[in-house]
Subunit: 221 residues, 2 copies
Amino acid sequence: MFKKILIAEDFQDTNKGIVEALENRLQIEFIQEELYCDKAYNRFKLAYENGEPYELLITDLTFKESHVTRRLTSGKELINIVKNIDQNIKVIVNSMIDNTVEINSLFTEQKINGYVCKGRNSLNELINAIQEVYHNRTFVSPQLNLNSASSVFEMDKYDLMILKDLSEGYTKKEISEKLKRQNISPNSESTIDKKVSKLFDEFGAKNTHHLIAKLIKQGKI
Amino acid sequence: MFKKILIAEDFQDTNKGIVEALENRLQIEFIQEELYCDKAYNRFKLAYENGEPYELLITDLTFKESHVTRRLTSGKELINIVKNIDQNIKVIVNSMIDNTVEINSLFTEQKINGYVCKGRNSLNELINAIQEVYHNRTFVSPQLNLNSASSVFEMDKYDLMILKDLSEGYTKKEISEKLKRQNISPNSESTIDKKVSKLFDEFGAKNTHHLIAKLIKQGKI
DNA sequence: TTTTGCTTTACGGATATCTGTAAGGGATTG
DNA sequence: CAATCCCTTACAGATATCCGTAAAGCAAAA
């Protein structure tokens, strides 16, 4: 089993819950917990340079702002910089985000090894994930059904981009121009209109305000 | 100190973290943890009817949906129904919501005794809150500054209602009609226009889409 | 009472949205 | 080749938004 694990999680109660479980239910020799991405990175780097690297990083994705000025503000940034230094470290993400597009990109782009979605069984799942990852397998919380887009409607990257832009205050005309500049097709205002209208039906929204609100609340944007 | 405490929190890791801290740092004889509002309510009711009521309820506000059909879906509902049966029970809310309007209304309407905002020190704050509430005082996470509307722009209840309706897909015309039916004044479409435009400036939003997205992400809606 | 200041309201014009219809462009199939 | 399907695009009309101006209402101050 892993001997050195690093945990980055900003909620103190959650953090303690994880540490407690790892100490009691797995025989981990050394567990280091941190509440800030920056501090976690410093721990990682120091250990790496001393030739005693962490074998596993367990991190959240979102971290609250604080009075302390921070270089790293999200778990994704932390993973990127850590993986850039140590390609061998294993990474498990423990977050409440359940947007499958987002999670898929963590596996393909950040090359994470496991994803646990916070919930009523997530501590058990995390233990499970650690064991799987230790044996060089990947783990994803079973309720997510990553590859089978079976259950509900899902947005592709294109839809996601449009909705993100809309939620940032861009008009459809501006988005159309932006897509043309970036040579992304389709890019007509009309098509954007259609795409968004389709999403109204799929998500049961009355208009764009409603759709944006729903998607943000669902953590999809 | 309290002898019987009931905890309602749906994230397993957070739940365990809280229980662990209460067991180790306070001498609580009996702690019951539940992952569902409904189950917490059942525990509460049974104990009350047996003449051995819980003295303190610690609850989250938001609970994830699940396959299990639920009557109670939020901490607010749980508090209402519990307080309705037992006026003596003390309530501490432990949530990540930091919207001061919302929190204030929990104190005035749900008559809660303490509010702890999840974060890097929230476990210590929770211990503190329990001790304060035990001595019949109230507790609010210090970083919140509830009464001093000092720092950033805050919305009053009126603004909040309008933004909530907009985010649910109502047009300003519909909202105007709704306000008139409820005899709430002001209620002209024009005034609603002005109010929203003013919020654009205060929150640095380009349009309504942008404003709604920002406010939801800040947890204000 | 008049003045002043603030909020609410009405209204109009420019812009954006939402929602049809219709036309054009591939790709696939028979 | 034609037929079909699906996606993209153009366009147009109805509705909604954004934003300015101006008038009306109201309360406190002069």
